[in-house]
């Protein structure tokens, strides 16, 4: 039963080759979506282009439903799939700092790589800034490790916190997503600007 490449017997090179192939798919999908353009991405925060929301929530739902179906049919052991560990305040403050970085730079790290891969110089500067940010964090770690490791809740799941089954939570998420897609389509009409696709 999957996941297959987490067992200690699996060969390291197979795991790394899989990572490379999955990365190719990831980079391809981001670029096709238009995430190689900062002006398109930033549209999310000004309402003129909501591609980010549509792609992001469609992808979440496909992976969420897909993994639960695979688990239901006994093909995937979800207990073996990594669940992010929750550190309450670091997750919130980290997210707030990331949001500020998003509107300053117009990229998140993944979309920065996407834009760099097709030759955008601004994305190169973004990634250089990112390297600097990771380096600053590493050097400052002794000073901030207390806060960075505070409020640890383990691999907490949101549906368990709300006391509902994964299936019910997924259904609620789908309904919320459809509502947001509808709003997004309306926002794009309301905040429409002249088409800039040719300039990107």
């Amino acid at each position: 039963m999957a996941p297959i490449l987490v067992s200690p017997d699996s060969q390291e090179w197979i795991s790394l080759l899989t990572a490379l192939l999955i990365g190719i798919g990831f980079g391809f999908a981001l670029e096709q979506a238009g995430f190689s353009s900062s002006r398109k991405l930033a549209g999310m925060f000004y309402g003129y282009d909501t591609t980010v929301l549509k792609v992001f929530f469609t992808a979440t739902i496909v992976a969420l439903i897909g993994s639960q179906l695979l688990s239901y049919f006994g093909l995937l052991d979800l207990d073996m799939v990594f669940v992010n560990h929750f550190y309450v305040l670091p997750a919130i403050l980290g997210g707030v700092i990331m949001g500020a970085g998003f509107v300053m730079g117009g990229f998140c790290p993944g979309t920065g790589f996407s834009a760099l891969s097709i030759g955008k110089i601004d994305a190169l500067f973004y990634i250089l800034g990112g390297l600097t940010g990771a380096w600053l964090f590493a050097e400052l770690y002794p000073l901030i490790s207390g806060f960075a490791n505070s409020g640890y809740k383990g691999p907490a799941k949101i549906n368990e916190w709300l006391g509902v089954s994964p299936a019910l939570f997924s259904l609620i998420l789908i309904i919320i997503a459809i509502g947001m897609f509808w709003l997004a389509e309306k926002a794009e009409k309301k905040y429409a600007r002249p088409d800039i696709t040719k300039e990107l």
Binding site: G94, G106, A115, D122, A134
Partner: protein
């Protein structure tokens, strides 16, 4: 070559979701991007000063038992991302060296804010244990509370700060 239009967002989202699902299925994990940046920094610092790395509990953890930070799943995945993006750009006629910016701002201003944005984003991602890919997208797909909280914090803060940086975009 003529530029092709971008893929329909719902179709691109489905494709991205299937890529994430394959990562979960084959490797038992989600996607990531900021982690690759971290491994790159850790590796460079390790090459420059072994003493500095050994004295630091932060850097030290990535070199325990002879581990190599660049020989990791995330580093290879990020390398793949650059390849995949290049293939997509080549097939769609979107390759080209350029600085993308609003016509209202200078190249210098665009590059300065791009650098600063990257610095903030990746610093924040270290605190939150992941960025939009590793924490928000992959986290939400496994129903992790951290994923949902990080997603709301990233986008909420983006809207909060959007007014201050509007000149860069609109």
């Amino acid at each position: 070559m003529k530029r092709k239009p971008y893929m329909n967002p719902y179709l691109a989202g489905t494709l991205l979701g299937l890529v994430l699902l394959s990562a979960m299925f084959f490797s038992g994990r989600g996607l990531g991007a900021s982690g690759g940046i971290k491994y790159c920094v850790v590796s460079v610092v390790g090459a420059i000063s072994e003493n500095h790395v050994q004295a630091s509990p932060y850097y030290g953890q990535y070199f325990e038992e002879g581990k190599k930070p660049l020989k990791t799943w995330l580093s290879f995945e990020v390398l793949g991302m650059l390849l995949g993006g290049f293939i997509s750009g080549a097939l769609s006629g979107r390759l080209g060296i350029k600085i993308e910016r609003s016509p209202k701002i200078s190249n210098k201003r665009r590059l300065f804010f791009a650098f600063l944005g990257g610095l903030f984003f990746v610093f924040g991602a270290q605190l939150a244990r992941g960025c939009t890919s590793g924490a928000a997208l992959s986290g939400m797909a496994v129903l992790s509370t951290a994923g949902f909280v990080t997603m709301v914090a990233i986008f909420g803060s983006g809207y909060l700060f959007a007014w201050f940086f509007r000149k860069n975009w609109i």
